[in-house]
């Protein structure tokens, strides 16, 4: 198992490097890097002397390859650079935002798993039945909803009309503030999980080994408990992992809508303010989280599925 984890880590490392390089290249070719970054719309001109001084301070005068070398060396020590705007270390700025994003992602995935997986399961038990038809119509609708619009509608209904929940913000960090953004973000993975679970159950229901189980004289409920659940779980778990990553990416919109102080709104604000080191750092951290989660899921799958370790 340990060697599996190590191998998986080694596979991930080049991807991280490639992403870091890509992000660096993308942002080092932006015209007017720093000077424009200090003005909101990138158009007003700063005093030439100030510009030179600042370019020197941030090492922007060096040739690109030198800057890239420095950048990678920095990354190796978990130094993500300094914010153009606040002069704070980017790592500190991001660290503050990590927990709210994690909260949001976990809450929305829990919601998606808790509703989506059982829904897909029930739907698959009677394919073509009314529960199946309704839930699959619901699923395709859920996948088609723009998250920020759903969030807006939820906000309107539950916060403004009914007044049950706060409309936006992080507040004191209590769960009341978390509910609406988590639901808005969780509906799409919920829909996808319901579809995947249904497909997985249907596939396994027709598998030969389930026929063997029935030939053993097993009741349907035992077939489900002894043979279906575990096998479905492996397939569903992979989807959960991928969706977890997608949710972190999609959180940008929902965080922005609900003024949630997470990584996503940090990223959008930094893009608007052209605070490049923070943009680079947030994207890199988001990718790292995404890869980390998928790795965890792979390991989890390997624990459940004995075939994976050896291949």
């Amino acid at each position: 198992m340990l060697s599996f984890i190590v191998r998986r880590l080694l596979q991930t490392l080049p991807i991280i490097l490639a992403v870091a390089a890509l992000i660096f290249v993308m942002f080092s070719v932006i015209p007017g890097t720093f000077a424009s970054s200090m003005s909101d719309d990138g158009r007003s001109v700063l005093d030439a002397e100030v510009m030179t001084r600042m370019n020197k301070e941030f090492g922007l005068d060096d040739p690109v390859y030198v800057r890239f070398g420095k950048y990678i060396a920095q990354l190796a020590t978990f130094d993500l650079g300094t914010s153009f705007r606040t002069r704070q270390p980017v790592a500190d700025v991001i660290a503050e935002r990590l927990w709210p994003t994690a909260q949001l992602a976990i809450a929305s995935m829990l919601f998606a798993i808790a509703v989506g997986v059982p829904l897909g399961f029930i739907a698959a038990l009677r394919p073509g039945g009314w529960i199946d038809t309704l839930s699959m119509i619901g699923a395709v609708s859920g996948l088609s909803l723009p998250k920020f619009w759903l969030g807006l509608m939820l906000m309107y209904l539950f916060a403004l009309v009914l007044g049950w929940l706060p409309s936006f913000g992080y507040g004191d960090g209590s769960i009341r503030y978390l509910i609406l953004p988590a639901v808005a973000l969780g509906v799409a993975p919920l829909a996808l999980l319901a579809r995947t679970t249904r497909a997985a159950v249907l596939e396994i229901m027709n598998a030969d080994f389930v026929r063997t189980a029935r030939a053993k004289g097993m009741s349907e409920s035992k077939v489900v408990r002894w043979h279906l659940t575990r096998n479905t779980l492996v397939i569903v778990l992979t989807t959960i992992g991928l969706q977890f990553g997608t949710v972190i990416g999609q959180a940008v919109v929902v965080e922005k809508l609900f003024s949630w102080p997470g990584l996503g709104s940090l990223l959008v604000d930094s893009v608007t303010l052209r605070d490049i080191p923070v943009v680079q750092g947030s994207i890199l951290v988001i990718v790292l989280l995404f890869l980390l989660i998928n790795m965890l899921v792979d390991v989890l799958c390997a624990v459940i599925d004995p075939r994976i370790k050896y291949t």
């Binding site: 993308m26 609708s141 909803l145 723009p146 619009w149 807006l152 919109v253 959008v268 608007t272």
Partner: protein, 273 residues
């Protein structure tokens, strides 16, 4: 039964959006950008303004119609770019193999590691907001599934007898790829493309909502929603109609994609794409 319902409803929804987009100048009541009139700001839906008016007094119905043009353009063009990139890379990688295959594989893995909305957002960050930038940002960031599929089909097809026969006959690589391999993987690629279009429409709306896509005053559904939050208490219709339009368009494309999948890609269920 369900198969037909998918295609029918999806087709009708999508056709509706296409018609709205094409005939927007005739169907619209006012000019979507110029006809602002603060006299009529935040009018609720009614006889004169079917969907109400926004904070600048513009007719939301007309703006929603014109918004279809932007969504469709972005959806279709960016997905075409993705498909072309994905097919070119995947097909050649699967067919040629070797270092090129390794390279494409690495590239695909990297693409899959970056959430596509984040990638598109990063590209929008270095380009200026606008339609062209959107097409580039969304066209470059969502080809990995097409690429994987094209690569896998090319790998399995190239050992088939008729492809070998074409090789023996001295057909060039390009000719074999285009005439022997491509037609045989078209079905699933069309399916992915249709679903991808829906994704692109959603991504455009999201980026415009964040102020990084189409900028106001141009009537993109996403940008219409971006200032709607502030008026949601006083004028919820400003938010409702553009959102419904996005939902209907994407739902149409998703249903169409699911329906096409049942017809064109019978193995899809096994692959669980």
């Amino acid at each position: 039964m369900k198969l037909r319902a998918n295609l029918l409803i999806g087709g009708v929804l999508f056709a509706g959006v296409v018609i709205a987009g094409i005939f927007a100048p005739w169907l619209a009541h006012t000019d979507p950008v110029m006809d602002a009139n603060l006299m009529y700001a935040e009018e609720p839906p009614g006889q004169e303004f079917w969907f109400g008016t926004d904070a600048q007094g513009r007719d939301i119905y007309s703006r929603v119609l014109y918004g279809a043009r932007i969504s469709l353009t972005v959806g279709i063009v960016s997905q075409l770019i993705n498909t072309v990139i994905g097919v070119c890379l995947g097909l050649s990688a699967g067919y040629w193999g070797g270092w090129w295959d390794d390279f494409v594989n690495g590239l695909t893995n990297m693409m899959l590691a970056i959430p596509s909305l984040i990638f598109a957002l990063a590209i929008m960050a270095i380009l200026n907001p606008g339609l062209t930038s959107l097409l580039i940002a969304l066209g470059l960031t969502n080809w990995s599934f097409t690429c994987r599929l094209a690569r896998a089909s090319a790998l399995s097809l190239k050992s088939q007898g008729y492809v070998q026969a074409a090789k023996v006959l001295g057909y060039g690589d390009l000719r074999i790829m285009l005439t022997q391999l491509l037609p045989n993987m078209l079905g699933p690629i069309i399916v992915i493309g249709t679903l991808g279009m829906g994704g692109a429409v959603l991504a455009e709306a999201a980026l415009s909502f964040l102020g990084l896509g189409i900028r106001p005053p141009y009537p993109s559904w996403g940008s219409m929603l971006s200032d709607a939050r502030d008026q949601i208490t006083t004028a919820p219709w400003i938010s409702i109609f553009p959102g419904l339009a996005i939902f209907m368009t994407v739902l149409g494309l998703n249903l169409l994609g699911d329906g096409l999948r049942d017809i064109l890609d019978p193995q899809a269920r096994a692959r669980r794409a």
